[in-house]
């Protein structure tokens, strides 16, 4: 297949870049390496499926990104799970259970995307627990009050959505499809957080308003960090953009986030803890102060407030329940034996 032929493909083609007939073409014509054909295919908006040939580096980068994303969903359950028991109304409890459950579901969707790329969920989880894998730095901050549940929904899920919406266009088909499902669910997450804060702030007591402002003060900077380091310091970005694994740069997404949240904060009535935050009519953006990137690297490096707590929690869930999973596996094996050997148990 030549570049000319590739350019005739419709956007978002579900065809393989290297379907059998095109493979023949490639070997006949011998003018393009497999990698070049792949890159061109992706550059023209082609979707890659699990069964397709793909460069090793593409596969590895994707596994890293998707599994980090999956880990973030799972670790992200913990700060909110902290408030399930004390949710102050039955309705809020119901909403929070459903929300945290969604995050477990997102983790599952994403681990299964990683599995289509040949990764094993168990290995990925082990890597997380051993500290070899990364996850979003934001979940290494503690959730200290009930208001944090609202703030996490509004700011943290809000930041996550911006990133995830762009990833619905990503080149790897299973990842893009998972993202579409996830985005549909995320919008409820952000909405419920915003609504909880809005209502408490507008109709609640002074004590509730102080609790909310304190919460925003703590989560603002960690939310800005969720988009990753400034573009000037971000490695791997260029290649990932070329492959359509990353769609917008960290700084672009961060700016979109600040623009949205600055407006929404006025509706709620809270103050964004950045004295320099102001609207710039020339650029059409809000000007804002960068978060403390030194702190970001500390947290990413495993030295945040909750890193050990979070991983210890995941480790305990794995180790304390090992006997359960073990019994399930042995049972499965026994059933297999019965089926083969004893017609009564088939």
């Amino acid at each position: 297949m030549t570049i000319n032929q590739l350019s005739n493909l419709p956007n978002k083609s579900v065809m393989s870049p290297l379907d059998e007939p095109s493979m023949a073409n490639v070997s006949d014509i011998q003018i393009q390496s497999k990698e070049d054909v792949f890159d061109a295919y992706v550059a023209h908006g082609g979707r890659v499926e699990a069964s397709h040939w793909m460069p090793d580096a593409y596969r590895k980068t994707l596994i890293r990104q998707v599994s980090q994303h999956a880990h973030s969903e799972i670790v992200g359950m913990l700060p909110e799970a902290n408030w399930l028991i004390s949710a102050p109304s039955l309705e809020r409890k119901q909403i929070l259970i459903a929300k945290v459950q969604d995050e477990a579901g997102h983790g599952l969707y994403l681990y299964s995307v990683a599995e289509t790329l040949g990764a094993k969920r168990k290995d990925l989880t082990d890597a997380l627990i051993d500290g070899r894998a990364k996850y979003s730095s934001v979940f290494n901050y503690p959730s200290l009050t009930w208001a944090d549940v609202g703030t996490i929904g509004w700011l943290v899920d809000g930041a996550a959505i911006l990133n995830q919406v762009t990833l619905c266009e990503t080149s790897y088909g299973p990842y893009a499809r998972a993202m579409i499902r996830i985005c549909r669910e995320e919008s409820f997450h952000q909405r419920q957080g915003f609504e909880a804060l809005y209502r408490m702030f507008a109709e609640g007591t002074d004590a509730q308003r102080s609790m909310i402002q304190d919460s925003i003060n703590r989560w603002w900077a960690p939310s800005l960090m969720m988009f990753g380091p400034p573009d000037t310091d971000s490695n791997n970005s260029a290649q990932s953009m070329k492959w359509g694994i990353k769609i917008k740069t960290n700084d672009t997404l961060r700016q979109e986030f600040v623009n949205t949240i600055a407006k929404q904060s006025r509706i709620i009535g809270v103050t964004i803890p950045d004295p320099s935050l102001k609207w710039c009519p020339v650029s059409g953006n809000y000007v804002f102060t960068q978060p403390d990137w030194e702190e970001f690297y500390e947290v990413i490096g495993g030295r945040g407030m909750c890193n050990q707590d979070r991983l210890e929690n995941i480790r305990r869930a794995r180790d304390d329940n090992e006997w359960v999973m073990d019994a399930a596996e042995k049972y499965e094996a026994q059933q297999g034996n019965y089926a083969a050997g004893d017609p009564n148990h088939a």
């Binding site: 109304s89 039955l90 869930a317 073990d326």
Partner: protein, 346 residues
């Protein structure tokens, strides 16, 4: 030179052993003999100990202050610290106990016990969030919790309607103290392992399903709620069945754990039959319907080779307000945010 032994004697029963001196002897037997000869010639003792002097370790007199200084500062350890009122000042007051349960008509006491049980079960399930054996189980447990929470909300409202209480489901949950909760006792017990979870779920779900089946017929208003709930609960029962089967035959460890979990919870099922007897709104039905949950549960447990412990003859029921120490703690946590923000809007 024979060894030196310290001699202790007990002058009479009920008195501490007292050190009285030492003897030299080659072995314990000779030491005892020498001690008797030397220290008990006039029947001063009914028992003797001898201990090698070198085995006695004493506190260095120089550091004594460090050891004993703090003892001075704790007068609360002595009875004299506590003043007693003079006889003339004996309290003439009596405490007034409100027994709300006795004020409730049977039909409302019935729904309140089921509502409280569904609510506390939800809380116990919520504690699994982030601790489950797998992500698939996170999803399943949350689903069950969402169901039981919705039953609790419905049943609280139903209780309120039946007696026209000036309450809402929220005030029933957040304003009653633990002594006023009427849930079954086994529901409030902590779930230490996954075996606890599946067994409690089996027992509670099959019982609840049975209650709804009976009430559906007895109470027209209940009909459409019960119809839907009965189908949903079948999923809870199936979930419990599937796991009990696996844990009972999978591995020896799992079998042992589920058996010990059963030993703890099964005697509490006495409360369920007492409840059925006391609140049997449908006694025109055949006893088979009445106890069908019990038959199905025992059939399953026996089929997978578990031994059923015997039931107690007498049982103090949670629905009569007899609870364990665990409930108070759980209710405190449940109500902490609500109580911290009086007049709060959620």
């Amino acid at each position: 030179m024979p060894e030196l032994w310290e001699v202790f004697i007990r002058p009479k029963n009920g008195i501490d052993f007292r050190h009285c001196g030492s003897v030299r002897a080659a072995d314990p037997e000779l030491a005892l003999q020498a001690a008797r000869d030397l220290y008990t010639r006039r029947q001063e003792a009914i028992a003797i100990w001898v201990v090698k002097s070198k085995n006695i370790h004493a506190l260095d007199p120089d550091i004594r202050d460090v050891y004993f200084a703090s003892a001075d500062e704790h007068p609360e350890r002595y009875a004299g610290y506590y003043s007693l009122p003079e006889a003339s000042k004996i309290s003439r007051r009596t405490a007034v106990l409100e027994d709300k349960k006795n004020q409730l008509p049977k039909s409302a006491a019935f729904t309140l016990t089921l509502a409280d049980s569904c609510f506390i079960q939800t809380q116990r399930l919520c504690q699994w969030c982030g601790q489950a054996p797998s992500l698939e189980e996170e999803m399943a447990i949350s689903n069950i919790a969402l169901d039981t929470l919705s039953y609790a909300r419905y049943l609280y409202q139903e209780t309120i309607n039946r007696v026209e209480l000036p309450e809402t489901p929220d005030t029933l949950v957040f304003k009653r103290d633990a002594r006023q909760y009427r849930n079954f006792r086994f529901i409030e017990l902590p779930q230490y392992s996954f075996a606890d979870l599946v067994l409690r779920n089996l027992i509670f779900s099959s019982f609840l399903q049975n209650m709804f089946q009976r009430n559906k017929i007895a109470d027209e208003k209940f009909y459409s709620f019960s119809e839907k709930a009965i189908v949903e609960i079948q999923y809870h029962v199936d979930h419990a069945h599937n796991w009990i089967r696996r844990l009972s035959v999978g591995t020896a460890i799992a079998k042992q754990r589920i058996q010990s979990a059963l030993d703890i919870v099964w005697p509490h099922t006495r409360e369920l039959s007492l409840f059925s007897e006391e609140f049997d709104v449908t006694d025109h039905l055949q006893s088979q319907t009445r106890c069908s949950w019990h038959h199905r549960a025992t059939d399953l447990l026996r089929e997978v080779g578990l031994a059923l412990p015997s039931l107690p003859d007498r049982y103090r029921c949670g629905y009569d307000g007899y609870h364990t120490e665990h409930l108070g703690r759980l209710i405190s946590e449940t109500q902490s945010v609500y109580r911290e923000f009086p007049g709060g809007i959620w």
